[in-house]
Amino acid sequence: MAEQKTSVSVQGLALSYGAVKVLHELDLDIPEGEFLVLLGPSGCGKSTLLNCIAGLLEPSAGKIFIKGKNVTWEEPKDRGIGMVFQSYALYPQMTVEKNLSFGLRVSGMARDEIDKRVKRASEILQLEPFLARKPTALSGGQRQRVAIGRALVRDVDVFLFDEPLSNLDAKLRAELRVEIKRLHQRLGNTMIYVTHDQIEALTLADRIAVMKGGIIQQLDDPHTIYNKPRNRYVAGFIGSPSMNFLRAKLEGTAAAPSLAVAGGKVSLKDYGKMSGFTPGSEVEFGVRPEHIRINAGSEPGSSDSFDAVVDLVEPMGSDSLVWINLGGQMLSARVESSARFHPGDKVTLRFRVGLSSLFDGQSGDRL
């Protein structure tokens, strides 16, 4: 396999505002052409990390490399990056064409080179009809495309996106999401994308870095993050509707582990490799709503059945979410909308153990 060159490398990056530490010695290597998403709630440090990579914020410690060059002390314009902001940040008094070409003109580039690049960017982003308009005459989606165009004309290797779709309504967000993915497929540049929206993360990313409290909780491709979350936090953050967590206790032996949960027993032989087994320890049993079977017969990969009572049904169009009371703990299970359940119905549950997760009761780490 040919060695993939690293596009962006972050080493030991830390940032503190006085006594408050916002980033905790982060390490991150991003190969060329990857679409990396930094995902997390407000205040987790994702925007801070992006701004450090961009050179807009100064780290308290650590190094940043872009295409092999140490850019830790370089100005943003010398780092080979282009950036797209949440509020578009277009120059309001300039036409679209001027917005795109301003930076290039300031750098003293030849006029025909500028025109060539502006033309190319307008073509890719379908901006030709608006080149003479000012930002106030454009819709939100059009403005965002101009913002992307401004980064495009810089002919750089790395694109940085700081929550670019957060200011748009849901429909527009979905449309532009697809356009950004298409852009990535067409251009193949490295893209680092910050968002708090997990749907954007899951659909756009080659890899996702889930962040909390200035620390990267997990760095993996979307599939792994969804199915094998590394800790309780990531498991609860990703997935909508969110994962169910049941209090449980480990039992049995390392060769034949099992779980005491909700007054019953679940065999863990299909769980896969566990990172540590201490019988008697308190754990959390995490299972996603779509991995709970209601009123199903015994199947390979499913656990034994449990008796439970339906509490509430939420119809969601394509399927329904059924809230079930299992011995005092609330679970949600996803079912086809054709299956009709009513509050008070007695049902049986089976868990698909192979797709579930176990978390240590204290640390929250995955077992």
Partner: protein, 298 residues
């Protein structure tokens, strides 16, 4: 990577303590500050010199033998064209003018602003717009009509005339201030009070005013400064016995009697500026807010 230095870039970029860019900024700011502070400095040192020192000395060099005699003279004995009672009568007149003027002008304007913002009636906005435009009309255009009006009212050449004038000319900006402020308060508060059955005056006194301490402060500062510093209206409308401090100051400094006593003049000038300056230094951000409010239209 041709890196001739042995240090690899890491962490925050080292910045020299005296970067040329920052130095330039501070240099400009400090030099400009000198232009602004110079007159204050000159005023102070001149006011404590004796006359020989002034005549033969240097305007920028302080005296080694300061005396407060000029200050005492300025306050109590300096001569205008008419009498030699110093600035003191002017000071008390200014107080007599300022306090009622501030109260009346703010009372009229706050209520007007409240009406326009919360209880608009037909033509309310029209009056407001005319008022705003009127604030730009040069005073000279209304000087004579106001002489006529105050004569009709029987108050020309009295304290009441000046109070009336200051109310008139304070109205545009104060009404703007209050109207904007009341408009910016959450409307739910007002609606809830009306649902509870409260009327115009009750809402004003029990709900609006307690919430409006900042804006009243700004208004008071604006008015006290403007009215205390006024000269034109004091000279025209107040009457000879009611001349405010600014007029008194001008008469003292420009009086043609006797020898010009620059030290007394400077002491008198400082005394006249003392009240607004004190307010300025004490009120800080409210003063700035008042200025900004003067510029924010709508």
């Amino acid at each position: 990577m041709a890196n001739t230095t042995t240090i690899e870039a890491s962490g925050p970029k080292p910045r020299p303590l005296f970067a040329p860019g920052r130095m330039f900024v501070y240099a400009v700011l400090i030099l400009t500050s000198i232009y602004y502070l110079l007159p204050l400095y000159v005023m102070l040192i001149t006011s404590v010199k004796d006359l020989d020192d002034i005549r033969f000395g240097n305007i920028f060099v302080p005296t080694s033998d300061p005396s407060f005699q000029p200050w005492i003279k300025a306050w109590a004995e300096a001569c205008t064209g008419l009498n030699c009672n110093g600035l003191a009568p002017g000071f008390f007149n200014s107080v007599k003018i300022t306090i009622p003027s501030v109260i009346v002008s703010i009372a009229v304007a706050s209520v007007a602003g409240y009406s326009i913002a919360n209880w608009p009636f037909r033509f309310a906005e029209v009056f407001f717009t005319v008022l705003l435009v009127g604030s730009f009309v040069p005073y000279q255009v209304m000087l004579y009509p106001l002489v006529i009006i105050t004569s009709w009212m029987g108050i020309y050449s009295t304290l009441w005339a000046v109070i009336f004038i200051h109310t008139v000319f304070g109205l545009p900006i104060l009404t703007l201030l209050f109207r904007n402020y009341f408009s910016s308060l959450p409307p739910e508060l007002f609606k809830a009070a009306r649902v509870d059955g409260a009327g115009y005056w009750r809402i004003f006194f029990q709900i609006m005013m307690p919430m409006s301490v900042p804006i009243f402060t700004v208004a008071v500062i604006l008015q006290v400064t403007g009215i205390w510093n006024d000269f034109l209206f004091g000279v025209i409308y107040a009457g000879l016995t009611n001349y405010p401090m600014t007029v008194q100051l001008n008469n003292i400094v420009n009086s043609l009697q006797g020898v010009k006593e620059y030290n007394v003049d400077m002491a008198a000038t400082i005394l006249t500026g003392l009240v607004p300056l004190t307010i300025y230094f004490v009120s800080g951000k409210y003063f700035v807010r008042g200025i900004a409010a003067g510029a924010v239209k709508g």
